[in-house]
Symmetry: C2
């Protein structure tokens, strides 16, 4: 056999959520009658709004008729009708991006993972810790050096830049997965200034922007001055519109962003990303794009807002229970995630096992998101209302509250 | 900005088909009344069979109801119902693969491009030339050394191994894109023996298997003895079932295939590919998977066979016209592609311009597929019947035949 990419051997054997699924499945096999409530993986549970389903079915019907059949997309980066709908969505919260700056993909995870292809392997990557595992794993796979900015109780689990640290590629996520914390415009401005001083790029994951309720929290990094000179934004319909099983995301690359190659030539980042995608991706399913565009219609936005409000109410229920138990947490407001300190100074995986076996509730061990996650735990508000209430009752009972 | 992956600067600026689209669009702008017939990109034109559309719409409906809503897939490698359907399809032409060995993806191009992530950058890659550009481009992006096996008029544009050449990763495609040539079982056995002697892996692209009509041409490399010890197969529903705009493919990795890491440990290739996909991919849209599974039902197979027969008849029309003009070609039988020598010893791009401007027919210049493609040209049989006839009449008129 050829030589393996040995960088893979430096990774955890499995992606975090595959490990959790295996643990839960093993528990279920041993306890077939257990009534398990899943609040681990950040997966939505409400069905997709009817206006979106109807748009998908209309798109499917078009594929069945010769005159309206769609084959390959010319660009593979999304149909204009969808890119225009997304640009209109940005405009609704006051941000101007051009449709041509939007690249449609099968999801934020794919873009987050694949974007690393366009960067040299000798760049230094800065990741706030704890973080969504994809930022670290995808860079370790390429053999890049990853350094960390600590998010912890002291900074409200929202790390800020350290002027003494040099980095080339910076991953930020706000509202944060897993900590639920958010950056204000002022805080993002500090990161932007830091990136520009370092000649670095910010890869900004805004997958949870739809959960922002407070006015001073930007829905996009491009709402902040200077971001167009140093940032790429990756977003998704997964959490905005329940698309985890539908698969559609998008990446915004400002037209002016460019690399300086070693021979001194300027190379536009959008062009290099297009080149990467041109060889390794072939666009998103047409009926999925029809569905995605329907999300951004007046009726679509109305329907998804109801779903988000439902999840936000769940978040409040979780937060209230933690308040009752006197447990420290971040998130829950502006975010579907609640990040809390494990009771009795338990380790993350220790608490995972306890919560699973004693309360039959699945969460995500904070340690799976990085060293600052040890001793912390993540619950999601994406569950069913009754099950969320039931889970928190079981949690409180377990804690004798 | 961070450092660019300088390997991108070694590539052609654009993916081949994006260049062609740009040229055609420019011609169309200058000649708005031109009635252009597109036989360039290998894109299908017949609509998707009704049984497949209905399955997709049923899947979409399930996404709109809480009880049947699907979020993330646990594995991200395809639902069991689809993997079992694909395994059954393999069985129908006498090949045994396990459902768990099948990894569902958004298309063969994605898998072809992304599979390189799991290999060390110091492997030597052998590509038959001419070839589908993705094999070369995706490896150049990683900085790998690519060497070529010449496909030419002498070997019927079906390169065979050279015992004096050492390689670690071998790309084969049969029926071949772009040359339409096919490997017999005996020829594939020679490649397998060569791979095993070199301790190499074969990445076998079988995207066009559904066009095979002759009995002695394998539909899968796994029909040939020894392939399970040295081959990965990548296939797609794009050409089998008109899925170019629906996006679904699959990769078969035999369970027994493993790397030997530098520390001597055995690492299963399926596990490493799963790790790659776990971090950089999130599965195929559920309604698309429903549609894909319907392709492999009795009714689905019946309907796609009709479509393939239609394209095969187009291929005959093209081949007959070339015969009339006395032009050398390969393909057209067992393949939707016809690969021919440009008349009057013209260069590929020269002939592209002539055919576009004088006959308003778009094809693909052979030179875009590699050095052995210079002076050759590819036409596809995926067009409309009447338009195919019309295109060949224009071609003959242009040649004064």
């Amino acid at each position: 056999m050829p030589k393996i990419n040995e960088n893979f051997l430096k990774l955890e054997k499995n992606y975090l959520f595959i490990n959790i699924a295996k643990k839960v499945n093993a528990y279920k096999e041993a306890n077939p009658d257990a009534d398990i409530i899943r609040m681990g993986i950040g997966d939505v549970t409400l069905p997709i709004p009817s206006v979106v389903i109807e748009a998908m079915k209309k798109g499917a019907d078009e594929m069945g008729v010769k005159e309206t059949f769609k084959g390959y997309e010319d660009s593979g980066a999304g149909y204009d009708f969808l890119k225009e709908a997304i640009a209109g969505y940005y405009k609704s919260f006051g941000v101007d991006v051009l449709p041509e700056e939007i690249r449609v993909s099968d999801g934020a995870k794919s873009d987050c993972g694949n974007i690393v292809d366009i960067f040299g392997d000798d760049n230094v990557v800065l990741v706030t810790d704890p973080a969504y595992p994809v930022y670290v794993d995808s860079n370790l796979m390429s053999g890049r050096k990853v350094i960390y900015a600590d998010s912890n109780k002291e900074n409200g689990f929202a790390a800020m830049p350290d002027e003494n640290v040099k980095a080339d590629i910076i991953y930020l996520c706000s509202p944060n997965n897993p900590t639920g914390s958010v950056y204000t415009a002022e805080q993002l401005k500090q990161w932007i200034d830091y990136a520009k001083k370092n000649d670095a790029i910010i890869i900004y994951d805004s997958a949870y922007e739809a959960f922002i309720t407070e006015d001073n929290i930007p829905r996009s990094i491009f709402a902040v001055e200077g971001a167009r000179e140093c940032a790429i934004e990756i977003c998704s319909l997964s959490k905005t519109a329940g698309f985890t099983g539908m698969r559609c995301g998008y990446t915004v690359i400002p037209n002016e962003l460019k690399f300086k190659a070693s021979d001194g030539t300027d190379v536009y980042i959008s062009q290099i990303w297009g080149r990467r995608q041109g060889s390794k991706f072939n666009g998103v399913s047409y009926p999925v794009q029809c569905a995605a565009a329907a999300v951004f219609t007046e009726k679509g936005l109305e329907q998804i807002k109801e779903n988000i409000a439902y999840y936000q109410e769940n978040a409040k229920i979780i937060a209230n229970a933690l308040d009752e138990m006197g447990i420290f947490y971040t998130g829950g407001k502006n975010s579907p995630y609640i990040w809390f300190k494990c009771p009795d100074n338990m380790g993350s995986w220790e608490f995972f096992d306890k919560l699973l076996s004693e309360a039959n509730v699945v969460g995500t061990p904070g340690a799976g998101f990085g060293r600052n996650g040890e001793g912390y735990f993540r619950l999601t508000a994406f569950g069913d209302r009754d099950r969320t209430i039931e889970a928190m009752q079981r949690f409180k009972k377990m804690m004798n509250t």
